[in-house]
Symmetry: C2
Subunit: 242 residues, 2 copies
């Protein structure tokens, strides 16, 4: 029965994939790779479910060779599992995996904060402050989606402000992993919202004073708290579900 879900998902994507239009022969790999990654990250494939290559080929209108190349890359990125002779499946993250992922993000953001403090310009700080105030407005008005969008924007801007491409790229692969879990959106519905807001206040303050060490610690704890909230809400859901 999972198959039927999978198939319908796949066929619905077939038209969508077609809508993207034919791509240049040259860039097929990169294009296919990002399309497939998005497809997985957006949760169109059931984690743990088997994915026959042939179906994906039809869905994306490519032959198996480039598709398999893309799958190998996605496996290296940790989004997909490849079982020898038994095909590929969307990786199913354990609780431990999720915790690990949050910790890595904590480490990366923490480092980004330190580096940003050393490099960031006043203008860039002002930009982040602006985002922060806007976000505060959404917080007061209890506009969760907008709040969430700005929250993400702030974190991304901070990472970008580190001026480190490798860090940013690594950060992205881990946020991609997280997005695959529907957590992020739900987490802040809890009573953690206020706490998160206070942590953000401190972040901006530390950044304003260019206190790298302080910012690093705040960010690290902030991310770990995010995980704790995620873990809690996950537990609640599971309790409800079963």
């Amino acid at each position: 029965m999972t198959d039927s879900v999978l198939n319908s998902e796949l066929s619905s994507q077939a038209t969508k994939a077609h809508a993207y239009g034919k791509v240049d022969r040259d860039n097929l790999h990169d294009d296919l790779l990002s399309r497939l990654r998005d497809f997985i990250v957006e949760g169109h494939l059931l984690p743990g479910g088997r994915i026959p290559e042939r179906h994906l080929c039809e869905a994306f209108h490519v032959s198996r060779t480039p598709l398999r190349e893309a799958l190998k890359v996605l496996a290296a990125e940790g989004l997909v599992e490849l079982l020898p002779n038994r095909g590929s499946r969307v990786r199913q993250f354990t609780d431990k995996d999720i915790k690990d992922c949050f910790e890595v993000l904590a480490g990366l953001e923490s480092a980004a904060g330190r580096l940003a403090c050393a490099r960031i310009t006043d203008d860039e700080v002002a930009e982040i402050e602006q985002l922060h105030y806007d976000m505060y407005g959404h917080y007061m008005r209890r506009e969760l989606p907008e709040y969430f969008r700005l929250n993400q924007a702030i974190h991304e801007k901070l990472v970008a402000a580190s001026g480190n491409d490798a860090l940013q790229a690594t950060y992205r692969t881990f946020t991609a992993r997280m997005r695959q879990l529907r957590y992020s959106a739900n987490v802040l519905a809890s009573d953690r919202w206020g706490q998160a807001m206070r942590e953000h206040e401190k972040m901006v303050d530390a950044l304003r004073r260019r206190s790298g060490e302080e910012l690093a610690t705040i960010l690290f704890e902030h991310l770990l708290n995010k995980w704790r909230a995620a873990a809690d809400s996950l537990e609640r859901e599971d309790a409800q579900g079963s």
Copy 2:
């Protein structure tokens, strides 16, 4: 002329590759991947030089399909560059790339230190202390290679002590990038040796007291100092070379 160098390197590898022995059909991909990665990391291919697929196929006794899959993965790992329709080459790191890489390592180790402080057992601390004292011995006797080996072992143990697989895996891909540059070995020949030793003292002390925040800062700075030393010695070499 680069071609001739490349070719001789490749043919010499052919025998070496053969020495590994035939592998199981199933694991060809993983096996080829790590062999190719090692081959590149060990510097057997000239950075920036073109690598015809055919040559690599002959060297590793595989057809182009699995080889290309491996190259795509290595490209995703950042070890190889793929130019559309123009083949693959070993990635040539700019000074900025190297700096970025050290900073990411700093972030990761720093996070590992924080996490380790929260989790590490007394026995594990004792192990690291033992390694540290051994290393100190080599330092006193000016035995650079042994010192270097233990230094690496300590850092790896610390990362392992974080208990975070994703962090450890990411750490490895970045150390692989670094190993591709011959820096690491040369760096400590400079007068930084003493400083590095003092930093390690502080690290072990912070770890013993389970002071995560302190350890995080020490590690971060330690790694950045490593980079500064590397950059300096690089400059010196360049000055000599030209």
